[in-house]
């Protein structure tokens, strides 16, 4: 089995700034692997270990995304590919999915792709479904448990708002992971040292057979602003009885209760 895991490097905290030209500025914030992608990596590793399979991690991002790829290698992935190109600086989720789909086709012989259900920075949740469409594969999103995975089929539980769906699919397939799908392992220091010199090939847009015109541009972000400040609040003082009476009074008067 050959599994690909798509990994996005994101800021650890979302306390980002907005630049005068309306871009997101995450400088000074520690970059990490998107939380949900860690579960995707762990799931791929566990199934690959059971079947003597292979795991390739792919990240589309700036050159420093090799940090996240190295961590995935230290966790146990076999190979890593970085997709980096100046033309991809402002690419949206759909364009990114198109590029990664082309990279997965270039790798060839891939049976399954795991990715996180969404990134913690852009939060579109769009990448996995778009990737599956561009690959022409079925998709299983919001996967909470993988019951079985064979050379030709997979059975999973999808965790939706009120229901749990047990779904089977043929392979190849794209699976998106929710939190607590498993317990992601910590890479050992020995492993971290071992992979530090492993070369990571970098592919540009032309390496996957695409050009800027293929990226779509179906969505443009025309403005970014910080959230409006909340109106300043009111502190309620006094003893406990006074405080709760005053609070409930205010909530009833403003028809909140």
């Amino acid at each position: 089995m050959h599994a690909v895991v798509c990994v996005k490097q994101v800021p650890e905290q979302n306390s980002v700034k907005i630049t005068p030209d309306k871009k997101v500025d995450a400088s000074g914030i520690n970059p990490i692997i998107n939380l949900f992608d860690e579960y995707a990596i762990e799931e791929a590793l566990q199934w690959a270990e059971k079947s003597n399979g292979q795991v390739t991690v792919i990240s589309l991002g700036s050159d420093d995304a090799t940090d996240s790829l190295k961590k995935a290698l230290a966790m146990g992935a076999n190979e890593a590919v970085l997709i980096s190109d100046a033309a991809l600086a402002d690419v949206g989720a759909q364009g990114a999915a198109k590029v990664v789909a082309a990279a997965i086709k270039k790798l060839g012989n891939v049976d399954i792709v795991f990715c996180g259900k969404q990134s913690t920075d852009d939060e579109t949740g769009q990448f996995g479904p778009a990737l599956a469409r561009f690959l022409g594969w079925p998709q299983l999103t919001y996967v909470f448990k993988v019951h079985e995975l064979t050379a030709s089929s997979i059975v999973v539980d999808r965790a939706l708002e009120d229901t749990l769906e047990t779904v089977e699919s043929s392979l190849p397939v794209v699976v998106t992971a929710v939190k607590d799908l498993n317990e992601p392992r910590y890479p050992s220091l020995l492993k971290i040292r071992k992979v530090s010199k492993q070369p990571i090939p970098t592919w540009g847009l032309s390496d996957v057979g695409l050009s800027v015109g293929d990226l779509g541009g179906t969505i443009k972000i025309s403005d970014r602003v910080p959230p409006p400040p909340r109106p300043s609040g009111e502190m309620i003082s006094g003893d406990v009885q006074t405080q709760v009476k005053a609070l409930v009074q205010k909530l009833v008067e403003s028809q909140v209760l």
Binding site: G216, I219, P226
Partner: protein, 325 residues
């Protein structure tokens, strides 16, 4: 040329979902501003009665794909059905809810059609003749304005409470669309209600507890009861979910649920950035915490500095007295 604002109807047991009624209200606004008709896209294996409900909620046309293959949601089946209707009747805009199933569908459908998707939006409007959508990202630290390229339809998945339902509108025209031939590669084996499932996103009141409660027992004793008398449900901070006090289902915040209820009561929650990200757009926020400098007070509408274990029983009793619950 593309024309029409469509709402993808979500339904259960023959009833239109609340989100679909809200979206028909929002869709009517957009349709009027664009000078185009409002349509309902109804997909399912048994759609009887749904079109009348859609007309009553403002739709002038209902595009119906009815087929046994649509009994359960599958990405392949629903993408194929929606695509057939869209290609035959060329709408300008398609609105859906932002439930996980709709996020699954719209991500695939937009890629399939090569059209733009504004996911999980908190606002959508027509500005100077063009459709614009607003959506938060980066844990609600950034509010993005999205505009669409040339491809149609423009697709947006929209959160609850963005639109207002319309009451008692008239009748409309039903347009049937045949289900295309499609190989559905996934098979739904079983759908079960989640034990202890909680739809925080739809709750009007959420009472959340945090580490300031001191123990899981205090949480269990105090938080669900206050939520009950307030007519809502209970949530939690990441700290106590990680500590194993309560299931992940209940977690509000960047790596849990994003909520925007009418009333959010934060009890013993200091207000880490990751928690604020999930609840700061709530209408009214009440914060109760013993630390007067806790960041939660910066977003609170009403703040009480004190011991939650003393305040909550008194607050529950007072709410009961005042509201009779």
């Amino acid at each position: 040329m593309a024309s029409g604002v469509w709402v993808l109807i979500e339904h259960k047991g023959g009833q239109l979902a609340a989100i679909s009624k809200e979206l028909l209200g929002k869709g009517k606004e957009l349709a009027d501003a664009l000078g185009q008709p409002l349509g309902a896209l109804v997909l399912g294996d048994s759609t009887g009665g749904l079109v009348e409900q859609a007309f009553a909620a403002g739709a002038a046309k209902a595009y119906v794909v009815e087929d046994a293959a649509l009994a359960n949601y599958t990405t392949d089946g629903y993408v194929a059905a929606a695509k057939a209707a869209i290609e035959a009747h060329q709408p300008e805009v398609l609105l859906t809810g932002s439930s996980l199933q709709m996020r699954d569908l719209t991500g695939a459908l937009a890629a399939e059609l090569g059209t733009g998707l504004a996911p999980d939006v908190t606002g959508i409007k027509v500005e100077g003749g063009s459709v614009q959508a607003m959506r938060p990202s980066h844990g609600a630290n950034v509010i993005n304005t999205l505009s669409f390229g040339e491809a149609r339809p423009m697709i947006a998945s929209v959160r609850r409470q963005v639109g207002q339902p319309i009451q008692g509108a008239g009748s409309g025209e039903v347009v049937k669309v045949a289900m295309p031939q499609v190989t559905i590669r996934t098979k739904v084996r079983k759908v079960e209600e989640r034990t202890g499932a909680v739809n925080l996103a739809d709750a009007m009141v959420i009472v959340s507890g945090g580490r300031g409660l001191g123990s899981p027992d205090n949480y269990t004793k105090l938080i669900p009861e206050l939520a009950r008398v307030m007519g809502g449900t209970h949530g939690a901070s990441r700290a106590i979910v990680d500590a194993g006090w309560i299931a992940y289902e209940r977690q509000v915040g960047q790596t849990g649920k994003t909520v925007a209820p009418k009333l959010y009561v934060a009890c013993g929650i200091s207000g880490a950035i990751q928690h604020l990200a999930g609840m700061r757009s709530s209408n009214t926020i009440v914060a109760i915490n013993k630390d007067a400098d806790a960041p939660i007070f910066k977003v609170a509408t009403y703040g009480i500095v004190g011991d939650v274990n003393e305040i909550l029983p008194a607050l529950t009793a007072e709410v009961q007295t005042k509201t009779g619950k």
